[in-house]
Subunit: 267 residues, 2 copies
């Protein structure tokens, strides 16, 4: 089932996507809901980020083939293979939805990179759960882009803006609840040309392992997002580009890239 | 004016504190409200964290006299004096209120330290504001404790649990809207004995400077919290202790310290 959050007119609602239609639901996507007869053509609603997250998590380096590149961002050798997840907080201000622009801040030096990732959505509050049980607390999966400014990543003490600037966390288009997260192909296309290809079977730590690990010290809540980590080598995106994160079995997250052109705020 | 968030019975409300009473308000603390005739003895309500934060920010090292100690946590020399704030995200799961327990996780090695701090509360949405204008976007100030597990701070790649574990962000007791944040004394007492004393005039970057800096890349929202940074040398707290952060002119944030005693979650 594909669960989407959407706006129609001034109203925000959740719905279930059937082909080219979305059927509004009554109830909570986290507990119990029913599908109503209120339906809209998918093309006539605005899809929003699929949850109102309280927290967005990255797992730290989670693909072997990203280690060498990650080291190079800091002008260093590849870091050691992590022995456990090394979580970090991405920042909910960064969230944006499918078809919304990724805004390149006016004071960056052109090193804003895509990172196509799969994203788990927490469905139930959890604390100190085992990896074996953690899957039960995941509602489903969506596509995400861990947009990253490499100069800030190198120079700052934390990722607060390198990975947490406004619009640096596109997620969507919806939550797929019936997908096996362990063998998903993931492709990134820039202006239609393939730029990244991987499979979630190569994650060093699986989604349940990451969720379990974070939950040892942090209460995870419905709607929280856990990213998979990035693979391989990434490259810069620039205004005018379109970035697509395509996970067959989930959907396609497409975002245009624009320049921030106004001193008072995002364009 | 002292604005508090509180629970009475099953209801959560905001109110204004007058001596030993709290008067419930109607409206929003961020836009417009009126004080009603509904009053409760302060001793009969449960004070909650004064906002429902979407984000908690630390400024990075923000007091000269904390540099040497901060270096020693990592077994290193004092880091260089920061040339600009080095923000980091503390995690809203960590928030807890006055008189609520700080829970020492069962899997720590006894290195959980207090850090008494002043905390600014954002009152209006802001992005790319100047330091000169930033003060207008701050609603008021409260007391905070940036509880920090030093072994995790040393060993992990990020502060996700060292400063972001559940209950590691006590804040309260209320928001004081009429205080000058540039010359506030701040004391920490452990079991009544003074453990830390400083003044906010020694902050390397003022609250408006920190807020302005973060707002260059991140939209700050009403209720977001910005900590001042810690001073000097801190030491460990242990179950049975009571920690007080006292800022004359604001109030006293008191929290008992307890051990986590149950594998299924916070005690």
């Amino acid at each position: 089932m594909k669960i989407a959050r959407f706006r129609t007119g001034r109203r925000v609602a959740y719905g279930v996507v059937f082909d080219e239609e979305i059927a509004e639901i009554r109830g909570s996507i986290y507990t119990k809901f029913r599908i109503t007869d209120t339906r809209y053509p998918l093309s006539e609603v605005k899809l929003l980020p699929p949850t109102e997250a309280t927290e967005l998590w990255g797992p730290g380096l989670n693909f072997l083939d990203h280690l060498e590149f990650a080291g190079s961002v800091f002008g260093q050798e590849a870091p050691p293979v992590p022995q456990h997840p090394q979580p970090w907080r991405k920042g909910r201000n960064a969230m944006t939805g499918v078809n919304d622009p990724i805004i390149i801040p006016k004071d960056t030096a052109g090193e804003v990179h895509y990172e196509g990732e799969a994203v788990a959505i927490i469905g139930k509050t959890c604390r100190r759960i085992s990896p074996e049980r953690a899957g039960q607390f995941i509602l489903g999966y969506t596509c995400g882009n861990d947009v990253s400014e490499r100069a800030w990543q190198r120079d700052d003490w934390t990722f607060w803006r390198a990975k947490g600037a406004d619009t640096f966390a596109p997620v969507g288009p919806w939550i797929e609840t019936e997908v096996n997260p362990t063998g998903l192909d993931l492709l990134v296309r820039i202006n239609g040309a393939e730029a990244q290809r991987c499979n979630t079977r190569d994650m060093l730590f699986t989604f349940p392992e990451i969720v379990s690990y974070i939950s040892q010290q942090v209460t995870l809540r419905p709607g929280d997002l856990v990213f998979s980590g990035a693979t391989g080598v990434t490259c810069a995106i620039k205004p005018g580009d379109t970035v697509e994160v395509d996970i067959p079995g989930i959907g396609v997250l497409s975002n245009p890239v624009i320049a921030e052109f106004d001193a008072s705020g995002p364009g």
